[in-house]
Symmetry: C2
Subunit: 238 residues, 2 copies
Amino acid sequence: MNERHIVTSFDRDLEGIQATVIKMGGLVEVALSDAAKALKAHDVELAEKVRKGDRQVDAFDQSIKTDSARLLALRSPTAGDLRTVLTVMEISSHLERCGDYAKNIAKRTIAMAGSGDIDDSLSALGRMARFVEAMIKDSLDAYIQRDAEKAAEIIERDLEADQIYNTLFRSLLTHMMEDHRNITVGMHLHFIAKNIERVGDHATGIAEQTIYLVTGELPEDDRPKQDKTSLAFQESDE
Amino acid sequence: MNERHIVTSFDRDLEGIQATVIKMGGLVEVALSDAAKALKAHDVELAEKVRKGDRQVDAFDQSIKTDSARLLALRSPTAGDLRTVLTVMEISSHLERCGDYAKNIAKRTIAMAGSGDIDDSLSALGRMARFVEAMIKDSLDAYIQRDAEKAAEIIERDLEADQIYNTLFRSLLTHMMEDHRNITVGMHLHFIAKNIERVGDHATGIAEQTIYLVTGELPEDDRPKQDKTSLAFQESDE
């Protein structure tokens, strides 16, 4: 791009920040994976580790924000470069929120310790966690490769994540209706499912930033939602 | 501050952005208030207005981010001024998320249309909405006045918001346990309560930014939580 008259310095600085984003992404993936493992194995110790580990994710976010601001101040980028820096900051925010969700799953795992289980819901939650974890990983790959097509695929995959969530939600609701004793645990598990589903939304958010970066335009905000039945739980909080 | 060698231009630009943040805050307050009204009156039309109105909140967020980046690029601020711009961007993100919550409450109101009510939960939700709405308003006032003491008060008030939420949650859970037919509506209302409670968290987030701006340090991340009973729903997703 023509505006990159100070191409080397800007790019070098940006690369440093992007390396931090990738490291942060790796940390978030591990946190999600560990949170799912701790949930399934009722492993309070591992859950505690995830809960505490979120501080490091937050510290990465802070450092990315500060470094990005310094880069803006130092290099005064315009047009595409300015967009790039804004994108890095937004992606960092998305990852920070994913870290929060992993932490919340861990906190619930600790709160639920010893209070039983519903059917095979923990396995289903584990599968769902792996699904959105891969979405996060691929959304960061798409970002690094500036691959708008790959990013668009992730947005499509979020529909599937929503579907998995809806199925799980209905199953939990059925168990709660069938037996009162499932209600409290069912609520916990449902919140966990919701947290996992939200990670998928953030992977979509990261993918949207990549599309914005490559094409200069954000995709339409109102993504199609799978579930249109009234009173169905279309759990998009965005 | 000594580093403000280009004080007038920077301050003038910053004032413009801050004016937008305040406008955005006003919009979010109205959205929350309308969402609560629509919920209580089962007013689908008003809920639809809130749902659609969130686009404007998102547009404000986008414009604040872009203007802040331009300001950074143009004025190359350092130290305190750099912090100020980062703070504005963070506050905008918090408000954007509050807008999402108002929208989500509106979407649930639409989904719940015609499906009854539980006890006086809608009134309780309305009170809770007004409580956090005031927190948002005051957190922005504290920010504009650079009042760290006022900001610290808001963080205290979030404990009360959490308490209101916990009480409401237990009441909903009881109704769900007593009568199966309450389970589905109870889940909706509970998610709405959760959304309102999260607005309080974001008011706290804004307050924390003010403290950071004034003192240079963020308050401790792990805020005290009121409810420590095991299996209690300490619904902090952060």
